[in-house]
Amino acid sequence: MNEQQNCTGANLTLSVLEQQGVTDIFGYPGGAIMPIYDAIYDSPVKHYLCRHEQGASFAAIGYARASGKVGVCLATSGPGATNLLTGLADAMADSIPVVAITGQVGTKAMGSDAFQEVDIVGLSLACTKHCFQVKKIDQLEEYLTKAFQIAQSGRPGPVLIDIPKDIQISQAKANHANLAESNLQKRSEQTVCQTSLYTDAEKLISTSQKPILYVGGGVGMANAVDDLNRLISITNIPSVATLKALGSVSSKQPFYLEMLGMHGTKAANTAVQECDLLIVIGARFDDRVTGKLDEFAPHAKVIHMDIDPAEIGKRRHADIAITDNLKNSLPNLIKAIESQKFDFNAWQIRCLELKKNNSQPISNENKNIFAPALLRNLSNTLQNNAIVTTDVGQHQMWAAQTMRFNHPSQFITSGGLGTMGFGIPAAIGAQISAPKTQVVTVSGDGSFMMNVQELATIKRYQLPVKIVLIDNSRLGMVRQWQELFFKQRYSETDLSDNPDFVTLATAFDIKAKTITKTNEVSDAFDEMLNHNGAYLLHVKIDAMDNVWPLVPPETSNSKMIEKTA
């Protein structure tokens, strides 16, 4: 932009976005953000209108997770801003770099309970990494630039910046200030770990007999997937992955036991319970991973590698803690151990045995469609670089158990917060970041309805997103828990009065089809994946199908239960 010439706060905002390399933003206009929307009108930054601010926030997350860039969302003051909060909480829980820009009532009206005024800064304190409110035009460029830096630095996260309307129309001087990086250099991630820590880690690994790599979402976020696989190839240490890490460990690694935790494999959970050394890489001992914490990996010493010092010792004591960017610490660890010869032969054989004994065959001889078999089939049919997003519930766990990915950015799912309604808008963001890539949403009939309005966004931008809607006419995961843990008292989980999903999709010009039988699956996938535009495949499944295996809540991972008759 040619600055100085009638540069308003709104123009400056767009100019900073450009400077930060932002090309696409997601939002919804309203009174208090109109000057910024006016600046968008002739900005090269492309704005995507979602149909709900929550949709815009998830689209920004999907965009960020697929591209590795910062996702940006915009909303007006009051209800617009509060509607973003669920997305920010989701980004906080999964450490996703997002910048949210909200309009605010004019500074003179602030604090007077003005129309569409809400204290969004106060509301966002608990679900953002940081937030700013611009009080003077001079602060605008600095805060915006800092927002991008904070969102991406160290452990990434969401940052909100609240801009009152009068600031948006004030005259601004863009000074493109060389905003002191030093201000941020003080942050934790810049620390350098002592070499001796790696020597200590090497010793602990050498003296262990049954080590396991517990791989988390941090690996993908640090861009350290190759480093991780090099570490695995050199040492042949067996590995397990969290929900967010699926796709990090190459499926070619022979001692990879897949996902651990509540709906993980029995092999992964058993191996972790038996191990004597847990090498935790970019993970945080989430309760869905550990089951009953006191009984998790009871014989294991712990080497914990994570960028966030606050995760060290938070839920499990670490014998060695390496708090650095994994892009630095993994190569350092490799350097410290690559000359060593390890012999984990007996342990590797044990892990292979577990893998063999516990791998559940996903076959389906029934006429009715069995979702795990369907999703395994889908995974085998998709292109190698396809991106899959999910909603939250049974379909999400089935997707995690059966689908295979080559990189964690190919599986975009709401992990920490477990937010229903995530899948469709996240797919929109992912598709916009990668227009040529196959993008598929696996959704459930409960979740689908939570952001169903975003079908209008798919239509508006002619996005070729494919939606596989697994429909059991129930809130399936809650129903499963009611069956297992609440004496089959099915309180408020029956959705058998769902709308006609095919008619619904058709109303948005989205081609749609229902299938109910296994022998229809193959043709339906062909039709869906060969269709040029968006497509909704509505898959009816049995309401009583459950996700197996399962660690009951507050139970040790060694007490995993498998399918009951």
Binding site: V121, G122, L125, A126, K129, H130, C131, Q133, K135, I150, K186, R187, S188, Q190, T191, V192, C193, Q194, L197, D200, H304, D308, P309, A310, I312, G313, K314, H317, A318, D319, I320, A321, I322, T323, D324
Partner: protein, 133 residues
């Protein structure tokens, strides 16, 4: 405040005082209090004064751990420090006083890792650990 189930437990749960240096930003007080509450502590005393330039804020925060996990409260204090330390506006957190009672401090990983709590210098941190022992 939640009453402890076991009276001897209560004796071990004494106040701890933190000294916090932060940038004097409008939201910084709320942030400190929000993190403190969320991580399971209640505030028994609190003061905040800007420095002579007005740019920085010196806070003294006295907290008492709620009953969430009573047997490790001293290491939980360190966890509160690292959580507060993460806040963007906070420059320094110093754990000024810590009651020991009969609580045994287990090594908590910090002693192994000089870089796990970046805004503590080495000596401060080992001092902190040795105070506990």
């Amino acid at each position: 405040m939640t009453q402890p189930q076991n009276p001897t437990e209560y004796n071990h749960r004494k106040d701890h005082t933190l000294e916090i240096t932060a940038e004097n930003q409008p939201t910084v007080l709320e942030r400190v209090l929000q993190v403190t509450r969320y991580r399971g502590f209640s505030v028994t005393a609190f003061s905040a004064l800007p420095d002579i330039t007005g740019a920085m804020l010196e806070m003294t925060l006295t907290v008492n751990q709620e009953s969430r996990s009573s047997c490790h409260d001293d290491s939980d204090m360190l966890k509160l420090c690292t959580q507060l330390n993460k806040l963007f506006d906070i420059q320094h957190v110093n754990l000024k006083s810590m009651s020991i009672g009969n609580t045994k401090i287990h090594g908590n990983g910090f002693s192994h890792s000089a870089c796990s709590a970046p805004k503590y210098t080495n000596s401060e941190f080992s001092g902190l650990i040795s105070n506990l022992n």
